[in-house]
């Protein structure tokens, strides 16, 4: 075999595709589209509201707004790359926030509140994973059921009331009110989750296997990957993110409520997909998803800065989504 190696002439018609070959370039180009969309929105902001848009406090606001759903988006990115979908994220966040703000839980202090939120989120995510990986349910249906039941349980626990975070536990709220270097703590939490998510996805075997499980589950299984256990972990991870997001939403709204996170699943999925992740799994990036999310957040911010009413906001939002996507004009294979 070795002597054959030397005999084989380098194929002249293969263009040298060094490190960062065309795939790499494509990756850059894809994100470039999103960045361009963001820049365009920023220009619109600067032109229409020069005095408001580019202020530090507005940018902080945008980041703070993006934090909650951003954490959820990180988990969602994993699930979708792994070939699944999680419709329950908003409901799980609500459930975790309610569970963590019951009087009983609150009596144990802020640390227990946080632990409780995270555990509830992860636990419910695990249940999703069990239904999907071992109960062989379609992810869409399993997480839909979880979404419905999760909200119901949240309503039941809270007796359909909004539960305030109490004075004693104001440490939770300080995540939102305390600032370090001008940024509220929750923005750091968000950044940390993104960073950890990025490392997990791009620098570990877990991340690599996630792509494999989503891209071709049969091949992954035959290559010795425990696809079920991996799937289970993906949903648990998404649940964990919901738990963290619950802490952030408690900090921001000072409440736990069964109405928190309404339609977050749609926003998170949309952000992930705008960010270039295929709904069919096996591809995608965290950076893209976060950029997609920022686009959504900036759009809303711009609308309110400009005082658009809801109807016009909706129309403009639809148009901007189309424009942003056409801007990055991906040439996927035959569209369906």
């Amino acid at each position: 075999m070795t002597e054959v190696d030397q005999a084989a002439p380098a194929r002249p018609r293969v263009k040298a595709a060094g490190p960062g070959g065309w795939l790499g370039r494509l990756g850059e180009v894809r994100h470039l589209g999103l960045v361009a969309a963001l820049v365009l929105l920023a220009i619109v902001g600067l032109v229409t509201r020069p005095e408001n848009f580019a202020t530090a406090s507005n940018l902080v606001s945008i980041l703070a707004l993006a934090s909650t759903i951003g954490v959820i988006t990180v988990g969602m990115t994993f699930v979708i790359i792994g070939g699944g979908i999680d419709l329950s994220v908003g409901a799980l966040m609500a459930l975790a926030s309610v569970w963590a703000t019951t009087l009983a839980t609150q009596s144990y202090g802020p640390v227990v509140i946080i632990v409780c939120a995270v555990l509830v989120g992860t636990g419910a995510g695990l249940l999703n994973g069990i239904l999907i990986a071992y109960g062989r349910m379609v992810p869409f249906i399993a997480t839909l059921a979880m979404m419905v039941a999760g909200r119901g349980l949240a309503q039941r626990m809270s007796d359909q009331r909004t539960q305030l975070v109490q004075q004693d536990n104001s440490m939770i709220v300080s995540l939102s009110t305390t600032r370090v270097l001008g940024l509220p703590l929750l923005v750091y939490v968000f950044a940390l989750v993104v960073l950890l998510g990025w490392l997990l996805l791009n620098r570990t075997t877990f991340g690599r296997r996630t792509y494999a499980v989503g891209g071709n589950p049969e091949a992954a299984r035959l290559a010795g990957i425990d696809v079920r256990r991996h799937t289970l972990m993906l949903y648990a991870l998404s649940g964990l993110c919901c738990g963290i997001a619950a802490v952030l939403i408690m900090a921001r709204t000072t409440t736990g409520s069964s109405t928190h996170g309404d339609l977050y699943e749609l926003d998170a999925i949309a952000a992930v997909i705008i960010g270039g992740t295929l709904l069919s799994g096996g591809r995608g990036t965290i950076i893209g998803a976060i950029l997609g999310l920022l686009i959504f957040t900036v759009i809303t911010n711009l609308f309110i800065l400009n005082g658009l009413n809801t109807a016009d906001q909706l129309i403009a939002k639809g148009a901007i989504i189309v424009a942003a996507v056409l801007l990055q004009r991906r040439t996927l294979k035959t569209p369906t």
Binding site: N52, T177, T253, T254, T255, H260, T300, I304, G307
Partner: protein, 327 residues
């Protein structure tokens, strides 16, 4: 203000208020009351459902039959249809939208089942026997006067007044906004910006966060709903702003406590009492039993009862606190 009926008070705290064993509350023939309301995903609506159930529980002669609360018109129609089929004696309906449920309510009336319409009114008078509800326009007016007067007294000219609505597509929201604008006009003021926040805490936070960025200096905010107001207040606190004052809406206990403590920007709230549901149950029972309201001279229950919207400030918060609903 005129209307602080003992009846309302009683309804809100049924356990506390002893039920009179004579007059209208004396047990009569057995009636089945069907009840349909939007899904309780919100403090005020939750209070509505709860007040109705509690009021019904007071009477041994009432069988309370609530149906699935839903926010989908199509389903609420089916729910009411199923109550008609079940041949209840009287219906209490808080529709998602009065216009859209008009037809099915008319069917009930035609089938001989009287309908007590709560809050969101049916356009067709043949569709209900009695209506009881809040005064949305009046609520806006009250808030407008509270803000207009305060600013006038302070001598502010060209004030920045923001309005945070509930669900923009509801007629009640539009009535409130109209009343608000009309009242402000009398002071020569207008609403600077208006956004809707879907009646949820979280949406309140988000909208307020962005609004605070849009307006560097604000004089007053009217927030239609105290439930979403918790979120609005959280956003204000996070932004560290306090150059303005805020007026709430609906009258949650929480808001009243805040007003009483006078610790933040929330200085007043205008009521929209969910006790109307309890009253509606009582009225429905009377109608079904063919009685009148014993305090009134008429032999029959009136066709229409509009509750007044009260303005609660630091001064009278203590008095109203028992009436506030826990959000």
């Amino acid at each position: 203000t005129s209307n602080e009926p003992a009846a309302t008070q009683q309804a809100s705290a049924p356990a506390a208020a002893p039920v009179a064993k004579e007059g209208n509350d004396a047990p009569g023939e057995k009636v089945v009351i069907g009840f349909s309301a939007p899904a309780a995903d919100h403090g005020w609506i939750a209070a509505i459902s709860k007040n109705a159930a509690d009021a019904a529980k007071q009477y041994t002669d009432v069988e309370f039959r609530p149906v699935e609360p839903t926010n989908d018109i199509n389903q609420q129609i089916s729910a009411v249809e199923s109550l008609i089929q079940a041949k209840v004696n009287v219906l209490v309906i808080l529709p998602n939208d009065g216009q859209q449920l008009n037809q099915v309510s008319r069917q009930a009336m035609d089938a001989g089942i009287p309908v007590v319409n709560v809050d969101r009114v049916f356009p067709d008078k043949l569709s209900y026997r009695a209506w009881i509800g809040g005064d949305n326009y009046g609520m806006g007016v009250a808030a407008g006067h509270q803000i207009g007067k305060t600013l006038k007294d302070k001598g502010v000219s060209n004030p920045v007044i923001l309005e945070i609505q509930g669900i923009a597509t509801l007629p009640l929201t539009q009535d409130r906004s109209r009343g608000f604008a009309d009242a402000l006009k009398t002071y020569g003021f207008t609403v600077t910006a208006q956004q809707d926040a879907k009646f949820t805490v979280e949406s309140g936070t988000q909208v307020a966060t962005n609004l605070l960025q849009a307006h560097k200096k604000i004089d007053a905010i009217w927030n239609h709903d105290d439930d979403q107001g918790i979120g609005v207040l959280a956003a204000i606190k996070e932004a560290g702003r306090d150059e303005f004052f805020m007026v709430g809406g609906a009258g949650s206990a929480n808001a009243m406590r805040d007003i009483q403590a006078d610790s933040g920007v929330l200085k007043a709230t205008v009521t929209y009492p969910p006790t109307m549901a309890a009253s509606a149950i009582k009225i429905a029972r009377l109608i079904a039993q063919g009685k009148g309201m014993s305090d009134l001279l008429e032999q029959q229950v009136p066709q229409s009862i509009t509750l007044a919207s009260e303005t609660i400030t630091k001064d009278n918060a203590a008095q109203y606190l028992p009436l506030g609903f826990e959000s």
